[in-house]
């Protein structure tokens, strides 16, 4: 364990050194205290912290049997780990993404560095265990840290099975997911009555509907929140990347748009982790920059949202 820890720490530090060289402003802390520690968030109700920036695999890791792209995605995952990331989220729905993650983990020998989260995506509510087992084989993990019912598909049966699996130690945490703002009323009802560890939902600087009901409910119920589509499927970059960052960006620990969008999300007190997806090492470095430095407070968050709206 000590060896693993030191190797991991070495890799993280090496990665941080690289990040510091690339983005010196990231570590030019205005408060005068060094901020090389990643922003960690406690999983509500558990004695465990996870990094506030994770990684999604939707589209980006679905590269089939293309060995050249598998190797390239392996470099993306390596960068993610090197810069302190652990939470990787997938789904059997994402084509070959699970196989590619598994192959990348094998190449990196990194099965012990991952917080593995996937989804149950089948309408057959008796298939929960089999689906989890299939995904486990594809990822090369013995058990998942988190299993979530994908987009509430067959959720009644799957939730019961997942609760049983958690009680048996077959999975550590359970949850449900939605995206694009779908089925929020039903989602809230499930949050109110089921013993969930996590919910996954869409939240970003433009899609803020969850601030009204789901995020406060998660806080109230002690449920961790994983945020998908933090860049609105890339459209935030297409809309705003040509615009300048505000003059006060440095005050909120932001040196590029990726950090701007991600820090807005993870600074919400209900949010545990955001899971941006990327296929490029450079973009992964930018995303992981949001895991370090200052976070905006409530007033600054409002200022960030106002600024984006004004563009």
């Amino acid at each position: 364990m000590a060896d693993w820890f030191s190797r991991r720490q070495f890799l993280i530090n090496a990665g941080l050194a690289g990040l510091a060289l690339k983005s010196p402003s990231l570590f030019a802390n205005t408060s005068g205290t060094p901020s090389l520690s990643p922003i960690m968030r406690q999983i509500p109700g558990a004695n465990e912290n996870i990094p506030a920036i994770g990684m999604g695999t939707w589209i980006t890791f679905n590269v089939g049997g293309d060995e050249q792209l598998v190797a390239q995605r392996t470099r993306v995952l390596k960068t993610f780990f090197d810069l302190g990331g652990t939470v990787v989220d997938g789904s059997p729905m994402y084509g070959t993404a699970a196989d590619v993650v598994g192959e990348a983990l094998d190449s990196l020998g990194a099965h012990d560095r991952i917080f593995a989260a996937t989804k149950i995506w089948t309408g057959d509510e008796s298939e929960t265990r089999q689906e989890a087992a299939r995904s486990g084989r594809r990822w090369g993990v013995e058990r998942f840290d988190l299993l979530q019912v994908h987009n509430l598909l067959g959720w009644q049966g799957h939730i019961e099975n997942l609760k049983q699996m958690k009680a048996n130690g077959e999975v550590r945490y359970i949850g449900i997911t939605t995206s694009h703002g779908r089925r929020h009323r039903e989602f809230a009802q499930i949050m109110e009555r089921e013993p969930l560890d996590f919910v996954q939902l869409t939240y970003n600087v433009l899609d803020r509907e969850v601030e009204d009901r789901l995020l406060p409910l998660a806080q109230e119920r002690g449920i961790g929140v994983i945020v998908n589509r933090p860049f609105q499927g890339g459209s935030l970059f297409r809309r705003f990347q040509s615009e300048p960052l505000p003059d006060w960006a440095g005050q909120v620990g932001v040196s590029n748009w990726a950090e701007f969008f991600l820090k807005f999300i993870i600074s919400h007190p209900a949010v545990t982790c955001a899971i941006p997806a990327t296929s490029k090492v450079e973009h992964m470095k930018e995303n992981m920059g949001a895991l370090y430095g200052a976070l905006p407070d409530a007033d600054q968050r409002q200022r960030m949202a106002d600024y984006v709206r004004s563009l």
């Binding site: 939707w58 589209i59 679905n62 590269v63 089939g64 050249q68 994402y94 703002g181 499927g233």
Partner: protein, 225 residues
């Protein structure tokens, strides 16, 4: 899910891969098939010559070669390469195989007519398809290895293969049509989401060549037999 939920989905939600991965499929299959593409090019360019002869056996051979192209591009590209990243593509791959089998059945069971055909016009349309469309994937990817050849790439195969409408008798022709239309819609939707604008010309060309196939279809009175 309610109707409103379904309406909240966009086309993008059903395309689970990016343009880089998609365009590399052409590169990968070309690398893996080499040097068999040479044969595909020879067949593609030489095929109209079979129709210039007023010989039903030569015409059947041409239809048979188009049938083989459907099967190879369907099973090879769609099932083998595209299907793993996009499961509906695998279904289309098997539909291509069935389309090839249908055309082969037409060859053996009287579905290829012996009427006179404006072979030169057919050749012009055919050569425009097999020589023009392969460059579109290259234009979108910027890689010459992405050339989308007839008999290898499904888009070019379907577009040129649409002209086989002109070789078929009535009922066979109508059986041959649905896949051409469905494939055009499916591939156009994918190219639209991926914003591979040059490739978007391929389904457009397919639909135009279906029309050309009907236009080239001879009148029954001008029989070779």
């Amino acid at each position: 899910m309610s109707g409103a939920d379904w309406l909240s989905y966009s086309l993008q939600d059903f395309v689970m891969f990016g343009p880089q991965v998609f365009l590399r499929l052409f590169v990968r299959i070309n690398q893996d098939l080499w040097p068999w593409q040479v044969l595909a090019v020879v067949v593609a360019i030489g095929l109209p010559a079979l129709l210039l002869k007023r010989d039903l056996r030569a015409r059947r051979l041409a239809a048979g070669l188009i049938a083989v192209a459907w099967v190879v591009s369907g099973y090879g590209y769609l099932v083998g390469y595209f299907g793993p990243i996009n499961w509906p593509a695998a279904w289309f791959g098997w539909a291509f195989v069935v389309q090839g089998a249908l055309l082969a059945a037409a060859v053996f069971f009287g579905g290829v007519h012996g009427h006179r055909l404006p072979a030169r016009r057919f050749a012009v349309f055919w050569l425009m398809a097999v020589c023009g469309l392969p460059w579109l994937a290259m234009a979108d990817s910027g890689q010459w290895q992405a050339v989308a050849l007839f008999g290898v790439a499904p888009g070019t195969t379907a577009a040129a293969g649409a002209l086989a409408v002109a070789l078929l008798t009535g009922p066979w022709r109508w059986l041959y049509l649905p896949l051409l239309l469905l494939w055009s819609v499916f591939s156009a939707a994918i190219f639209w989401v991926l914003q591979t604008w040059w490739l978007l010309l391929t389904p457009v060309a397919t639909l135009l060549l279906v029309g050309a196939g009907f236009w080239l279809s001879p009148r029954p009175a001008r029989s070779l037999d």
